[in-house]
Symmetry: C2
Subunit: 294 residues, 2 copies
DNA sequence: ACCGCCCATAAGCGAGGCTTATCGCGGCCG
DNA sequence: CGGCCGCGATAAGCCTCGCTTATGGGCGGT
């Protein structure tokens, strides 16, 4: 299974014909036949149905075609990236950011990076922690910012922020002490947060804290409809729910919502910077150290 | 640039030594030297710094190493998928779903698919329209459900849902007619929706409608902090904002929020099923047809 | 029935990637 | 300070693999 074989197979799949594929690839027809035969032997699958008018894909062939396309696409992307570096010297540093990441931290670090590594272009994407882990391992992301330390051996991690969380409540909620609340006193409300799939570890931490204070974390939203968050969060200012938030909330709060400190249950949200342990990128190392000092 | 060269280069990069890489790959040292030389010639870049104690990566080498890792990772994934099919006959059909997709539509179609194609495992991911387009083209997604018809020639598309949108308003809002509102009457409120980057086409459609009715679409949230939606949406029930929603809203509305039909400006949200035009997957075709009839 | 196009098979050839042999260089130790 | 060892580069030969041309069987259209 080599790229050459993928290219040949895709040509056959797209042309629906061995001969036509051979013409397109500017090789002889037997060369294509041999390559297909080799693929079928390696996979142990019938990839093509031979008809007298040409060939069609079997189900197995369809699977292989899709995978082959994906591999070749990633390969082309790699060539582009290398070519880009060869001509302009520019490198892209791809960073993933979770929800509610302190908005100043990253721009400051990126600005510091720009002065020392002017040829590094930073591309930031909003991604859940789980997605970032996959992307890091797949090489589609250079630096992740996530809400849990990965167990993985070949990922390095460093805490970049620790935020002491308070709660957001409806401004009209009755509070014995206006400056702080205890989790237990929120028993009548439901917690609104984020889908568990986005960051299972952090979700479970929160759920454990809630349970230990007599609160019901609530049924996690059913997969497939987990993100219909718009209406849910309206519940906060309607006095039906609460959510956690750090004290230094950067967005202006609407008057109907107020932040209050938590007492009794220090809930700390950590955000880790995570990167492939065997990455030797100096711009990445520089950015991480800026995040560390910032 | 072939996979073999990538593997050799990565071995050298990870070992920090040509000789050690050769031992690991169970080939002779000159074979590795020759491969590296070929790579350097093809790229026109110096990939390694030769030190008497071994070799190190140049910046160019670091870029290539990262790309090579990504390509090989995708390649391994392809082998796994094909092997999976070869042994179990199972195929994965990867589907992307946007926010607020009618929750029954997909499960029904998937159930219908399961009866005709029992070996197809469906994997659903919540992704923005923009992300889905990339994933489709990269071969990382088999079927996308998005809020705009792609201009792309090699993507086929079909409308699966048209939803006539109304507005969600604070239940306490004054409404001359309780059963419908005109967009113009919402001039004092701000629209809360989704980040433009998630689905630029649909966003711009909405923005155009708003402007044509004398409303200000508002400044799109600054990139990098666009998704801090929790507090924003509290604004709806606080009477500061409105959002669009189809009439058949599946989640129970909190009492502080009410749905109202729109008159004067029929705003229709279409969701398209999108797939690679040259995909011949029969399970995909079956699912699409179920979505069409459902 | 024949011709044309399809794909598969067979046999020969050439290039590319392997091998072994050898060199130059620098670090390290006696 | 000299010799030695391990590093990587170069040279030359060989073998495998993927190409070629030649050919055969099967099916459809005229």
């Amino acid at each position: 299974m080599e790229l050459r074989e993928f290219r040949v197979f895709l040509a056959v799949a797209e042309e629906g014909s061995v001969s036509a594929a051979a013409r397109r690839l500017r090789v002889s027809q037997p060369a294509v036949s041999q390559t297909i035969a080799a693929l079928e032997q390696q996979t142990g699958l019938d990839l093509l149905v031979r008809r007298s008018t040409g060939v069609g894909l079997t189900d197995a062939g369809t699977v292989l075609a899709a995978e082959a396309r994906a591999v070749l696409a990633r390969y082309e992307q790699a060539l582009t990236a290398v070519g880009q570096f060869a001509t302009t010297g520019d490198t892209e540093l791809r960073i993933g950011v979770p929800l509610e990441f302190p908005p100043l931290l990253l721009p400051d670090a990126v600005a510091a990076l720009a002065s020392t590594h002017p040829r590094t272009r930073v591309a930031v994407r909003h991604l859940s922690s789980a997605t970032q882990l996959d992307a890091l391992r797949a090489g589609d992301l250079d630096l992740g910012l996530l809400r849990s330390r990965p167990a993985d051996r070949d990922l390095d991690a460093m805490v970049v922020v620790e935020e002491k969380l308070g709660v957001l409540l409806a401004a009209t909620a009755e509070r014995p002490d206006p400056d702080s609340v205890r989790l237990e006193s929120l028993a009548g409300l439901s917690w609104v947060g984020f889908p568990r799939a986005d960051s299972p570890v952090w979700f479970d931490e929160i759920a454990a804290v809630l349970r230990s204070h007599g609160l019901n974390p609530g049924s996690p939203a059913a997969p497939g409809q987990s993100l219909i968050a718009e209406v849910k969060f309206a519940a906060v200012s309607a006095g039906q729910a609460f959510t956690f938030a750090p004290e230094k909330w950067t967005q202006p709060l609407p008057p109907s919502v107020a932040w209050t400190a938590l007492t009794g249950a220090p809930l700390v949200r950590r955000t880790w910077a995570v990167w492939l342990a065997d990455s030797r990128r100096r711009d990445l190392a520089a950015l991480v150290s800026h995040l560390d000092q910032g």
